[in-house]
């Protein structure tokens, strides 16, 4: 209801709490080409192309300056990330990396960039610097995580064998989040990637809360009652989720109680709503309700505020930043994907001949989606038809057309103003907060309601890739599926060699086999499919193979430049158990 109550306009407001400059890729105050505000990125990368040899050279001193923190400081790096999200220090830490006003606006990044680098010309003579393969690996593997569904000797009765996940930051701190958990009171597993914008507060909150909302929505009435009774009488609670987290994936301790209370209110309402008949819970409906409810709670919490000043600031940051979410729920052969925004779920299908094809299980909610454009136009008066989406952005600002948080696009101007004025000083002090989206007439313009896709798993569906747009921008979906598929099946994708009547000498055969093996050894460098994919996404050359030099250069970009060349990348690769899936199929 928080969203529906405010439909008036206000000329003033604040803007982007955690990102004082508009280096954010999704929201750009300034008009101009888009993606990250740097057009360079989507096409070829001039920095590394032959056309621009000079900057490459110029770059090295810079790289050297930053190498320590980038390469050896993964731990510090994470620490830093914690700091940023759980303290009120963010604006400053972001500002630190904006040395030049032109740089900050990114209107014409190419020139700016030139200025920027030329400004550093005084640096010592250019010298070649590459990361060694082990250094590259330590960067790529810093955030990798693997989970195997517990099994004994391959006799796994789950339709999921396990998953690999990883993320590579481009923002500092990274704004992507990922979550994975097993539902303990119902069957099934939840996996999701969350792409934050205007800071990481919202994606963080969604990553820790959304699965609880989903799990609660899926719970039968009796279980809800049991849990509520346990809370009421102070007994131990039934565990709902078993999280599968990388050590760097953290949960906010401070907000835990607040989040719990909101969640409890939700299940209490679910209990009250129940008519008593035990009806089968519809997963699709549960997912939609959970998404909407969480967004609603985020919005409400920000409106109500919290007596604790830290928490108060936190809930505001969560509400004013935004996050997209792409969540998969796998239970047996039933796969549901709920998507809000422009992350994507891709199914890897192995054809009978062994080749790989990609099946998209989600629709991007952005300007490239005709139906989304249509929807937005229908939801707002005709007079706004031209202003709702401008330059492929919502109100000319926001790339994804659906998202959590982002109350700037949901609340009435009145409400925004009221909340900010009563909010902490940090909000009011922020220059960028004095901004209300243009043509803001009929909020809400943004929703967190997901589009849910159902897919019944077949034996040929081998894996699912969930990834934020950082991956999909750099790689074609077909390539993604092929690379993961070949990685997961190892040698087997290669056609087995058969001599069958041909004249082959031992030497020839040996040469052939050695060649095949070296080709494979690059695959085995990674123990994690997601890492392998990132390696390709960042290091692929024009021939589609990983170029170490390129990989090294990309990874040694200093923090303040990394975002110009790539976005945060977060990937989860879920591997399905074809045997179990096949058995399900045979049962029917």
């Amino acid at each position: 209801m928080g969203r529906c109550c405010c439909r008036c306009c206000c000329p003033r407001g604040l803007w982007m709490l955690s990102a004082p400059c508009c280096d954010d890729r999704r929201m750009c105050v300034c008009p101009g080409p888009r993606r990250i505000g740097i057009p360079v990125r989507s096409s070829s990368l001039p920095l590394f192309s032959d056309a621009m040899p000079a900057p490459t050279q110029l770059f090295f001193p810079l790289i050297r300056n930053c190498e320590l923190s980038r390469i050896y400081g993964t731990a510090c790096y994470c620490h830093h990330k914690h700091l940023c999200c759980s303290s009120s220090y963010i604006p400053q830490s972001r500002l630190r990396y904006t040395p030049h006003p032109a740089y900050a606006t990114f209107c014409r990044p190419k020139e700016n960039w030139w200025q920027y680098t030329q400004g550093r010309r005084y640096a010592s003579t250019p010298q070649k610097f590459y990361l060694t393969p082990p250094q590259v690996n330590s960067i790529l593997k810093a955030n990798e995580y693997s989970f195997k569904v517990p099994e004994f000797d391959g006799k796994n009765v789950s339709s999921i064998l396990g998953f690999d996940s990883n993320q590579l930051p481009a923002n500092a701190p990274i704004e992507d989040r990922r979550s994975a958990a097993t539902c303990l009171q119902t069957r099934g597993m939840l996996l999701g990637v969350f792409d934050g914008h205007a800071g990481c507060a919202c994606s963080q909150a969604v990553s820790e809360r959304l699965f609880y909302y989903i799990a609660v929505s899926l719970l039968p009435h009796e279980t809800l009652l049991e849990i509520e009774n346990a809370v009421e009488s102070g007994r131990a609670l039934l565990p709902i989720l078993q999280w599968h987290k990388h050590p760097n994936d953290y949960f906010s301790k401070e907000a835990s109680k607040l989040y719990f209370n909101s969640l409890r209110t939700y299940w209490q309402e679910l209990i009250d709503l129940n008519t008593g008949e035990s009806t089968d819970i519809d997963v699709k409906e549960a997912l939609i309700n959970a998404f909407k409810r969480l967004d609603n709670d985020i919005s409400l919490e920000a409106q109500v505020g919290d007596p604790n000043s830290f928490l108060n600031y936190l809930v505001l940051r969560v509400a004013f930043s935004g996050a997209t979410a792409c969540v998969a729920h796998v239970d047996g052969v039933d796969l549901h994907v709920a998507n809000t925004g422009d992350s994507r779920a891709m199914l890897g299908v192995q054809e009978e001949d062994g080749s790989w094809s990609a099946v998209t299980l989600s629709n991007d909610h952005n300007a490239q989606n005709e139906r989304e454009l249509e929807r937005l136009k229908l939801e707002h008066p005709k007079s706004e038809a031209k202003s709702v989406v401008k330059q492929d952005r919502l109100l000319g600002l926001l790339m994804p057309f659906r998202a959590f948080g982002d109350v700037k696009f949901k609340w009435s101007i009145d409400l925004q103003k009221r909340v900010i004025e009563s909010g902490p000083d940090q909000l009011n002090d922020n220059e960028y907060t004095k901004f209300i989206p243009p043509n803001y007439h009929t909020p809400p313009y943004l929703t967190a309601e997901p589009e849910v896709t159902y897919h019944r798993l077949r034996p040929q569906d081998k894996f699912l890739v969930l990834a934020t747009d950082g991956l999909w921008e750099t790689m074609h979906r077909q390539d993604v599926v092929r690379i993961v598929g070949e990685y997961l099946t190892g040698m087997h994708h290669q056609q087995p060699i058969a001599v069958g009547g041909y004249k082959v000498t031992l030497g020839q055969m040996h040469g052939l086999l050695t060649e095949r093996r070296t080709k494979m050894s690059s695959v085995f460098e990674d123990q994690n499919a997601a890492t392998h994919l990132i390696r390709h996404a960042v290091g692929n050359n024009e021939f589609g193979t990983v170029d170490h030099e390129r990989l090294s250069k990309m990874l040694s970009l200093p923090e303040e430049l990394a975002r110009m060349y790539r976005d945060d990348i977060t990937i989860i690769v879920v591997q399905f158990n074809s045997h179990v899936v096949g058995a399900y199929q045979n049962q029917e």
Partner: protein, 779 residues
């Protein structure tokens, strides 16, 4: 066995007139490393004494014997000139036709459905073409033997599993290889190479085998198996490295032919413990052709006489139980066994797969205190305890024929056993209880066991369970719990065999109750002079030698736990006690013992310490030193046989006769004199023993004695006639008058022979005069 096969195949061609492809090519075993060469030298020493010519040769000589070989990376090789190759299909045909000539009927294309059994006895075979009545059935179904065994109503568990095995066939060389070209085994390269119709046949045992048919008769016909070149690549590289000139040789095909492996790389033969007349010969671990002839001979003897002419306990089906029959266990284990074919075989190797199957309740506690484990019959037993400040080598690096890295650790454990007190978890021992309502138990046992069991209640008797020939079927300790009930402790791997033996020989109609209580008790061995002090503190029962003499058994309380069977024996000859603790009390008793024992310097110890202690005291163990062809008289245990008491027991006649005629072999203890345990190769077992330069037998086990500071080997001394090679009587005099040498991989070390243990080891350490003030310190 291989030797017999060799002779058999040689004769077969002459007898049947069917070509077996028998060609005497000789074979060369290459060594790329010094360790491999040591291993070959050990084999060489063993071959020579049984009359098979073989020699260690230099790489240069190798090149002369086989011109295609690259010898640059070799350190040596072993040449066995009389080795031969045959064609397996031809041999099978020849054997079949020889059998047919002697009246055997062979049914082609007939499959066995199951074996019919009545009252635990084979009565016939049900096939898809009808029934065949028979008294004996031999399961030789190779990789299908497991399933065929299970198809019975009373399943016969035959633990084996198949792996894919690849070998390569090529077209002939430009100048075809001569048929006499020696067979090459390059174990370090994991391959074998032999001549095949002028070309090459080469295969190997790769590090990453592919187990197959786990789920049973996968209905995949063997013919349909795929060639897998990528899998073969390492072996091909190895082949081309060994014979670079083969580069240009044309491939004919890569054959995928599954081979069957067993959990311990030894084949499986013998009679089923559950069904009489049901024999098995399977699981040849890829050596079917070379051992087949010999194994067939032993099995035939077994069926005709009831036992084979050689000790084949190591191959006996009864060494396994149902516990090794899990398909998952087998699948994992054979993946370790197959590469082991060509791995370096070093002393004290433990399998790494299929572990932690049976454990004592103290497993976690001991493991946390640094225990390193070995496995016997699925049971985890501690080898030694690594102190927290010490690191041992990684598994691969720890392989050695020399002094092992745990030497100092075991030394301190042994020292503690001698001076203070140690605890060894020995729960793995097989434990049976035999009770009857009347006096029947005693009657039956007196007949089954060689020593007099009619002892006062509470006494423990060491006794053998002999066969008709007087040989040890089992060597055990039996405690008389009360008039009508006995508690029997046997080696771990006796669980199946001893059970079957007792069942077979007990009267069918008796009301005797035989119960396997192995799982009910945790056994703690408290070894050392201070063991008595520890137990005294934990119980009000008097523990002094007057009240609790040696070889006594009492049920008493230890700590809070009541009903602990305390026995004054340690299996080592050291003072101390065995505690048989109902498993639910195990942790309590262990904790109490450890906490009380602290002031006596108690610590954990493992089987390596036990082994050192028992071998230096000349305690022979069944299965290692003595077997079903060893009589009590041959190992100096005449005193443990009731020959004079006028009571009949199995094997009595044989023993009486032997007593009259004298023994033909004698278990002897050897103390190595000029052996430097730091620098010289360590003895293991199977080393030839020379008396006055003549070969007289082989060692059966060995250990370093920390008290004597010498290596001690146990082994049998024979007396072969110099002229005829016939065995003659071995007298104590014969043994004492000889000068002995032990051959370790070709190096001979002087040894002192002893028929009785070194007396000084038994003297009580704690004499009053020797007491020092330091003895009063807590340790």
């Amino acid at each position: 066995m291989a030797d017999y096969s060799n002779k058999l195949y040689y004769q077969l061609e002459q007898e049947t007139g069917i070509q077996t492809g028998y060609t005497r090519t000789g074979s060369i075993f290459l060594a790329q490393t010094q360790d491999r060469l040591i291993s070959l030298k050990r084999i060489n020493a063993g071959l020579n004494v049984i009359g098979i010519p073989s020699e260690i040769i230099s790489p240069k000589k190798v090149a002369e014997l086989h011109h295609l070989l690259n010898v640059h990376d070799l350190v040596g090789a072993m040449h066995v000139p009389e080795d031969a190759v045959v064609s397996s299909a031809d041999v099978a045909l020849a054997l079949a036709s020889a059998a047919s000539q002697n009246g055997v009927q062979i049914y082609d294309r007939t499959s066995v459905l199951h074996v019919m059994v009545k009252k635990g006895q084979v009565t016939g075979v049900e096939t898809d073409k009808g029934q065949i009545e028979c008294q004996y059935f031999v399961n030789c179904a190779g990789q299908w033997a497991y399933e065929l065994g299970l198809s019975n109503e009373e399943p016969v568990s035959i633990p084996l599993h198949a792996c894919e095995h690849f070998y390569l066939l090529t077209r002939p060389l430009e100048t075809p290889l001569q048929s006499s070209t020696p067979t090459i085994v390059d174990a370090d390269g994991r391959i074998y190479i032999r001549n095949w119709q002028g070309g090459i046949l080469s295969g190997g045992f790769e590090k990453n085998p592919k187990p197959i048919f786990t789920e049973g008769k996968n209905q995949l016909e063997i013919q349909n198996l795929q060639e897998d070149w990528d899998h073969f690549e390492p072996l091909l590289s190895s082949l081309l490295r060994r014979m670079p000139e083969l580069e240009t040789l044309e491939i004919m095909k890569l054959v995928n032919c599954p081979e069957t492996f067993t959990p311990d790389m030894r084949c499986i033969m013998g009679e089923s413990p559950a069904v009489q007349g049901y024999f098995v010969l399977a699981g040849m671990n890829s050596a079917g052709l070379s051992f087949g002839g010999g194994a067939g001979k032993y099995l035939a003897e077994w069926m005709v006489h009831g036992y084979p002419s050689e000790n084949v306990w190591e191959l006996d089906l009864k060494r396994f139980g149902a516990l090794q029959s899990s398909r998952t266990f087998l699948r994992h284990r054979v993946m370790e066994v197959m590469p082991l074919m060509y791995d370096l075989k070093v002393p004290r190797w433990d399998f790494q797969t299929g572990r932690q199957l049976r454990t004592s309740p103290l497993y976690d506690r001991l493991d946390a205190q640094g225990a390193r484990w070995m496995e016997k019959h699925g049971f985890e037993r501690p080898k030694y305890f690594v102190p927290p400040d010490k690191d041992l080598l990684a598994l691969e690096q720890s392989k050695t024929f020399y002094k092992p890295d745990w030497f100092d650790i075991v030394e301190s454990e042994v020292k503690c056993c001698k001076e203070a007190v140690c605890v060894i978890d020995m729960s793995s021992f097989t434990k049976f209880e035999i009770t009857s309502t009347g006096d029947q138990a005693l009657e039956v046992l007196q007949y089954l066991f060689s020593n007099d069991l009619d002892v006062p209640v509470g006494h423990i008797v060491h006794t053998g369970m002999l066969n008709e020939g007087g040989g040890y079927e089992n060597d055990c300790s039996i405690a008389r719990l009360n008039k009508r009930s006995f508690f029997m402790i046997s080696p771990t791997d006796q669980q199946v065999h001893c059970w079957a033996w007792l069942k077979k020989h007990m009267p069918k109609d008796s009301n005797l109750l035989l119960e396997d209580v192995t799982w009910k008790y945790t056994a703690l061995n408290l070894i050392g002079p201070r063991a008595v002090d520890v137990l005294s503190e934990l119980s009000y029962a008097p523990m002094t030698p007057d009240h609790f003499p040696s070889l006594f058994c009492k049920e008493m309380s230890v700590g809070y736990a009541n009903g602990i069977r305390v026995m004054s024996m340690t299996h080592t000859g050291e003072p101390g006690f065995m505690l048989y603790i109902p498993i639910e009390y195990a942790l309590h008793v262990y904790n109490e013992v450890m906490s009380v024992g602290q002031k006596y310097g108690i610590r954990n110890a493992g089987y390596y310490a036990l082994r050192s202690l028992r071998i230096e005291k000349f305690f022979a163990f069944w299965g290692q030193d003595i077997n079903n062809l060893t009589t009590p008289l041959e190992c100096g245990r005449e005193s443990r046989v009731k020959l004079e008491k006028g009571m009949d027991f199995i094997g009595r006649d044989a023993l009486l006769q032997q007593k009259q005629n004298g023994v033909y072999k004698r278990l002897t203890m050897f103390i190595l004199d000029d052996h430097d345990s730091d620098l010289d190769l360590w003895p293991w077992w199977g080393e030839p023993i020379y008396r006055n330069g003549q070969y007289v037998g082989k060692t059966t086990s060995s250990a370093y004695s920390y008290s004597l500071e010498r290596h001690v080997c146990l082994g049998f001394v024979h007396n072969f006639s110099e002229d005829t090679g016939e065995e003659q009587v071995v007298t104590a005099d014969f043994i004492n008058r000889g000068e002995y040498e032990i051959d370790i991989a070709g190096y001979r070390f002087q040894a002192k022979a002893k028929l009785y243990p070194v007396a000084s080891l038994f003297t009580q350490k704690r004499r009053k005069d020797d007491m020092e003030l330091s003895d009063l310190h807590g340790k």
